[in-house]
Symmetry: C2
Subunit: 198 residues, 2 copies
Amino acid sequence: MKPVSSLLLLTESLKRLPGVGPKSAQRLAYHLLQHDREGAMSLSATLAEALDKVRHCALCNTFTEEETCVLCRSADRDRTVLCVTETPADQLVIEQTLAFNGLYFVLMGSLSPLDGVGPKELSMGKLLERAGDGVVSEVILATSFHNEGEATAHYISEVLKVRGVRVSRLARGVPVGAELEYVDVGTIARALLDRRVT
Amino acid sequence: MKPVSSLLLLTESLKRLPGVGPKSAQRLAYHLLQHDREGAMSLSATLAEALDKVRHCALCNTFTEEETCVLCRSADRDRTVLCVTETPADQLVIEQTLAFNGLYFVLMGSLSPLDGVGPKELSMGKLLERAGDGVVSEVILATSFHNEGEATAHYISEVLKVRGVRVSRLARGVPVGAELEYVDVGTIARALLDRRVT
């Protein structure tokens, strides 16, 4: 028995979502058509609308519907510090700490040559322009601490230092609330190296 | 920082998908807008098209784009046997066995009073009409073997037997290829009760 064609096309589209295999794509399609048609309509519509409206902030590269995002337009922010993150989600986490009042630059990814993500794909030119605008005095690298994130931080650091920009990196060390016994050795080694005089 | 509104709406829509929480909805939204805009467009379009075109077969209740589905229209099928399944996916699995040449009736769910799914939601009227058309001589119940599936099978069996229709159920027993040691006790007990003379 051949599945009906528009159902097959929908299943193929769902299969493109990260983490969705053929079986779950089929289940999702059945679920949407049988049990949540309203949700399906809203997903189709909001997806089309977001594709149409959402673009990158001209200054910080995050998602926005305007020319520049709310944060970049705010008069309350310290324009001399620029925090570089990989994703808008990482940016959100830093905002939630309430410990940072500067501006951001969102790379929308991390360097990964094997996946074809080089400096150009990460809007590195836009970042260099931004960091060299004469107002920014420090760039804080807040990329992730996995291999790609570290490589990205290293790359940006090298490129900016040549241009005389002060570059810093989020501190590595023992997480707040952690019991030493359960922290991995690499982290403890790092925390020893980076120990601070109290 | 407030996320931009159409991005928020998209995230909300994605959160309605089964198995997708707030974090994964956000990741999916970012992924679609940043890394797979083509996939996002195709998802939005195929979803809208499927919602528009896909409906239920007038005879067997499965998904189709026509008045009746390919199987129900086929001249090669045995119209005297009706196999009742919960979903089109279950129907597909039975087709793949090549061990059945009759027609189907797809309930599109199983009885679950707590979730508001009663006989009416399962198109039970349509099934009774179909099973009592004078051509069908046997109804094979192929609902799942979990509680809801068993309850559904029991209900249909009672309703149809009153009407003089012959009703059977898929055999329960030890799966093909299984080592007895690893089969659960309930299944083995059932296999003992339902043992067949060879």
